[in-house]
Amino acid sequence: MLSLGSGGAKSTKPSFVSYVTPEEIKLEKDLPKKEQHPDLLPGEVEFCSANPILKYTQDDLSQRGVFGTLFCTNFRVTFISDEASQEETAKNFKNKLYGENDIPLMCVDHIYGVYDEKKKLLTGALVKNKYPSKMIIHCKDLRVFQFCLTFTKEEDAKKIFQGIAHHCLEEKSLKCVFAFSYMGTPSPEMQRKQETIMFDSPEDWTQEMKRMKVNCRLVTENENFELSQRLPKYFVIPSALMDLFSYQGRGLPIWCWSHHSGCALFKASFPSMTQEDGDFQKHLDTMINAVAHNYLYSVKTEDLSESLPTIQDIQQSYNKFKQFFLIENSTEFWLSDMKWFSSLESSGWLDIIRQCLQKALEVVECLEKDNTNVLITEEEGTDLCCVISSLVQIMLDPYYRTLMGFQSLVQKEWVAGCHAFLDRCNHLHQKDKECHSPVFLLFLECVWQLVQQHSPAFQFSETYLTVLSDSVHVPIFSTFLFNSAHHRESFLKAESPLAQSGPLSCPTVWDWSVQFDSKAQNFFFNPLYSEKVKHEKVVRRPHKPKHQRQLSLPSTAFKTPTKKGFFKDETDSLKKMLRVKRISRWIGSPDAPFATTTPTREFYESWQQRPLDYHGLLLPCLDGPSVRVWMQRYLRWIPEVHILGGGSVAVMTKLMELLSQVQDLKRTLEQRDSSQAAKIDHRPYVQQRLLSFGTSGRLSSSFPFMHNRNRSFKPIIPTGLMQSLMVTESLANQEDEATSFESLV
């Protein structure tokens, strides 16, 4: 039974050395074997399993492994170790849906098979006959699993391999996604979800409009998607726009956000090109005019598909980029470490992030400094438009930097805004590569850049962003499963008879209690967040006038009635033309931005010199050193880069200690004073007390994701240090001291 493939396992290549000989396995076999089974989620069904499977442990320099059983269910691939699990060791950031040895089927990125020492990427066709000696699974959350199949019975190995390959690689229909079999009971803690504005009712929109005091029009005509299936159920358009029904709703400027001066940001898809040229132009003019009408009769338009990378570029770049983090063994790691900086650059991923932030910065400048309306357009209006509009709103509006505000923003721009999550994330393993693209991840990356540059401005932590980026690939949440609002509604309606008990309901990702208990959810909050101070105004008042004059901030004074009246003259077509001409200058220079990267330089610099207000405008620094790699997300599973006892967690711990201590004392005082006993604070920071994680254990920089159990305290010493260093020979051979040996001659 050990015949097949064991020859491969004996190879001397470091990546496949197994220190377990067949004899040892026999020994293990003699032990009384107890049946292992995964704890299934409600609605989860086990498909197949195999034992013994060797799972290589990653957090060890040697290629040893653990024996156990590999299962495939309709939700995940899971491995259960034969050894007593030590998982209990104070893991306070545990995902309730899947553990460290579980791979949700949707999370599988690629599967490689090792056939006779050769690593092959598996596609449907390869799977048919032979099964590999080793199976390597790359996950979308960047974990890497390696399973050795040679120790189990041939038919078992075949079955599990084909099962996994089938469920993870074959194209499937949306119906089969686990979310629709999942019977999880909604948790009592649903209030949390409630706080996030879902933008699925007219009231949500009206409220949002009220918050910003906009005078746009809420469109309810698309409630049954009669206008267009690609448009949101409800949306807001400039009040001047009357004609809704031409062009099947394409090219409609959809309101995103309004500046307090009155100017606003709109997004639109292209009007369909099949129309006659004249018609097309006319339509475009109507749209632009409608937008311009919104405020001061000024508008700038920006075609994102011209100035930003395409979604295919984004996909390609990310594919290159993620390879640096899908590390299978330490030899590979150190080899890739040598080329780190140059490969980082060649992937272009950081540059795409920079370009997106740069574009957002340009839009912010138009809104904040020039007080013009902005219309951003794109083929579909649901990819880069979402990225840019959301970023702009985060930079301009502190509300979106709170946890609930951020979630509402994602609902508004992405979920209700019809971003094609299903296609872009390729949840169904479709072969059509054209439409896959990590656009939403790109957005999170951009937000992370802002978070790391201005941490106190954000209520949420980078851990929150990391978890959110993982959650996209957990097939439980309805949030990321559909291509549009219409798609969601029609699908859920059509499928609901399938579920016998009532209508289909999937939790939204914002119901974090599905994944994490409240203690773990505390990691989502940024302990350094500077909450808005109520009395702030009093402090500021004296300097306010000067402050604003100096900074040429848009103020109400800027909106001089004369000016407004002047431009309001709608009949003055000449003026209209003038304003629109100005726009074209902006439209017409797509080449300029990245050749020089100076368009927003001045704007940024003048902002930078002002005292920073975390509840005001927030701009990213885009210079080379400032755009960084999201270390937490990308390096968390690579044991070679875990700094034991280091990382930012050390600082956090210290701060937490200070905070919790004062909190403790305060509470004691309150208890002492019985009159105040009733007033116990329920705000999030009280819970943060729990965050004062035991400092006794040394945490590593990968906290809270990977836990280094049984890790030796041996340092990690890189191998192959000099390999790529081209030390100039003449210099290297020069004496340290020019005179040292010559003098002897």
């Binding site: 540059d351 004296p542 280091g646 201590q661 004062v662």
Partner: protein, 682 residues
């Protein structure tokens, strides 16, 4: 132009070394703090929230809610008022209304007065000079040259632009062509060692203008012009005496030396055995003087193996020396072999001795041909020789030169990473860190003694031993301990600061120059980034050290060896950098410091975790500056901590007094809990 200053107080080094008294932390009360009083009194107010806000605010830039832009500008102006260049600090802590008062008061201050340190004299002043700023364009103003610095103030009355360059930082002066600015105009470029090259243009009309380059050359390179270094004129008095920081006997005593195997030898008290070693050496007890002398003749520059550090538990030691003079004929020296054997025997835990040769193996072979070489494992039984493959000083110098091209004046954003990659600066640092980790690991895990050498044992050896000691011994991670480490491993053991930095020397092309110490401090910064809570000192401390490595204001880094320093009476005639630092330690303290005590810290020598030290190398670029200087945040955090500490104690007192009345909440409050993490330092 004024914008320049708002961000971090003009383009001057981190601190104007101007007299100031150590600040009392309890001094000023910033505006937000007053809110806390209210909230504490009012039943609804939560002062936890206040703390959070304050932390958040201090962590980067906020607090400024009370400080309007004008107040910050003021800071720069205060510099030319000549009385106290560090006014910012005090301003900063004042409530906004008081700032207003200060503003008015200072308006009368004469504009064109240059702040001088005690002992500094103005040598020439030239009006109508144009500073060609690479970031914001040209500025016109007045240029003053003193015997210590070059000082440029722009003409603007409000918030003038200020550029302050220590003459010591100047590597070379060059006239440049500035045709575009009209005839009769000369240009000059001041190439600095601290990663910038300011350029000026001035009219040739007046006589005094012509002199400027001359005067500048004379005082920038005093040694070449037979003048004394400015450190000998500097007359500042500090409450602390930095020369007392390092006492070799006390430091060896801290390590438990002398003991039965190791003794403090006075053999070199007159620098007769080795002129580049300190007077006191730790040598094996059993080795006799004449034997040592014979070992000395076998080692390059007579730098015999001596103890640098001893493990408090295992007695494993770090020993440093220079290469043996093996030569092409594989010469042997019985005494040297015996000497190393004795070192090994002094550690009962291990029967092996590991020799780390910092050089590249091939280079070491070349040295062998030139009468140098390395220990032959055949002649040294139980020894294991490892090469750390670290390139020499010339390679490092070249690397930093390339780095300057990448970061100054402008950055090519899209190609930032490949440009950094091409300098190899981080790769070399990775090698160095990896080498030090191997040494520390040998000592800690294998409990084996190690011998470290390179060619002469004063460059890479100093880097490696001090980094390894920093990893192994938490004492060196404190503010004082780090000073001791530098005094010991670098200064007393003869790292040739004068030659490597070229203090006051005009010969900028001297191949002896190399930024090895900068590289070492950068490694420390990398470690600090990886272990943000493990070091008592902060980034400002490291930057200050590097600024004064060049400035020639303090005597600390002058000359090549202890012998030279004794000869020149550095201790009595100059001020120590540590006098300045230890007189205001709060500025240099890391508020997050937690004593890691016996933890050995192994930094990760992976490029993924090494990052260019933007706060040092790119600090002249205004876009790369934080909105508020980093040290300001840290200072505020320190203040916050003190405040929290006080509050906590106050509450604790109240609690304990109330406990006597009602002991209901006893369990929640074990007394040990109160204040434990707060006692960590300062």
């Amino acid at each position: 132009m004024e914008k320049q200053q708002h961000s971090s107080g003009s383009e001057s080094p981190v601190l104007p070394p101007v007299p100031r008294k150590p600040r009392n932390l309890g001094g000023g009360i910033p505006a937000p703090r007053q809110d806390s009083v209210d909230s504490l009194d009012s039943p609804t107010g939560s002062h936890v929230e206040w703390c959070k806000q304050l932390i958040a605010a201090t962590i980067s830039s906020q607090i400024s809610s009370g400080v309007p832009p004008e107040a910050i500008t003021r800071e720069c102006k205060s510099q030319d008022s000549g009385e106290d260049g560090c006014q910012f600090d005090s301003d900063y802590e004042l409530p906004s209304h008081t700032t207003q008062v200060f503003k008015d008061a200072r308006k009368q201050a004469p504009m064109d007065e240059v702040p001088l340190v005690p002992g500094e004299t103005i040598k020439t002043t030239v009006k109508d000079v144009m500073y060609i700023c690479p970031f914001t364009g040209a500025v016109t103003g007045t240029l003053t040259v003193t015997d210590y610095k070059l000082y440029f103030v722009s003409l603007e009355r409000d918030a003038p632009f200020i550029l302050d360059v220590n003459l010591g930082a100047i590597s070379r002066l060059e006239s440049i062509s500035v045709q575009s600015l009209g005839e009769n105009t000369s240009g000059m470029e001041i190439v600095c060692k601290d990663m910038r090259s300011p350029r000026f243009a001035y009219k040739n009309e007046e006589q005094s203008n012509l002199e400027i380059l001359e005067v500048l050359t004379k005082y920038a390179f005093p040694v070449s012009n037979e003048l004394s270094l400015f450190a000998f004129q500097y007359k500042e008095q500090f409450p602390e005496d930095g020369w007392k920081v390092y006492d070799p006997v006390a430091e060896y005593k801290r390590m438990g030396l002398p003991n039965e195997s190791w003794t403090i030898s006075k053999i070199n008290s007159n620098f007769e055995v080795c002129d580049t070693y300190p007077a006191l050496l730790i040598t094996p007890t059993s080795i006799k003087e004449d034997e040592i002398k014979r070992v000395a003749s076998f080692r390059v520059k007579h730098r015999i193996p001596v103890l640098s550090w001893i493990h408090p538990e295992t007695q494993a030691t770090i020993v440093r020396c220079s290469q043996p003079m093996v030569g092409p004929t594989d010469r042997r020296c019985k005494e040297d072999e015996h000497y190393l054997q004795t070192i090994m025997d002094a550690n009962a835990q291990s029967h092996k001795l590991t020799i780390f040769d910092a050089r590249q193996n091939t280079v070491a072979d070349n040295h062998k041909a030139k009468d140098g070489g390395y220990e032959n494992e055949n002649f040294y039984p139980n020894m294991e020789l490892n090469f750390l493959e670290i390139p020499n000083i010339h390679v490092i110098r070249e690397s930093l030169r390339k780095l300057k091209e990448v970061v100054y004046p402008t950055i090519d954003d899209p190609h930032w990473h490949s440009a950094i990659d091409a300098t190899h600066w981080l790769q070399y640092m990775r090698l160095l860190l990896a080498g030090a980790v191997r040494i520390a690991d040998k000592v800690e895990s294998s409990k084996s003694s190690v011998v470290v050498h390179c060619s002469d044992g004063w460059d890479r050896t100093a880097q490696l031993t001090s980094l390894a000691m920093l990893m192994l011994d938490s004492y060196y991670r404190t503010l004082r301990g780090f000073q001791v480490l530098l005094e010991k491993e670098w200064i007393s053991f003869g790292h040739k600061f004068a030659a490597r930095v070229g203090h006051g020397d005009q010969n900028h092309a001297n191949s002896e120059r190399s930024p090895l110490f900068v590289q070492f401090i950068d490694c420390v910064w990398q470690m600090m980034r990886q272990f943000p809570a493990a070091f008592e000192f902060n980034e400002l401390f490291l930057i200050t050290i590097l600024d004064h490595l060049y400035s020639c204001l303090f005597g600390t880094f002058l000359y090549n060896s202890e012998q030279e320093r004794v000869e020149k009476e550095v201790n009595s005639k100059t001020v120590s950098l540590w006098s300045y630092i230890n007189s205001q330690p709060e500025d240099f303290t890391n508020p997050f410091y937690v004593d890691y005590e016996n933890h050995v810290l192994y930094p990760l020598a992976s490029l993924r975790h090494l990052e260019l030290w933007v706060g040092y190398y790119v600090r002249w670029n205004p876009r790369m500056r934080p909105q508020m200087p980093v040290h300001q945040n840290l200072k505020d955090l320190l203040y916050l901590r003190a405040e929290l500490q006080r509050k906590a104690e106050e509450l604790q007192k109240e609690v304990s007094s109330s406990r006597s009345i009602s002991s209901s909440s006893e369990h929640a409050y074990s007394p040990s809990h109160g204040g434990t993490p707060l006692h960590t330092s300062v």
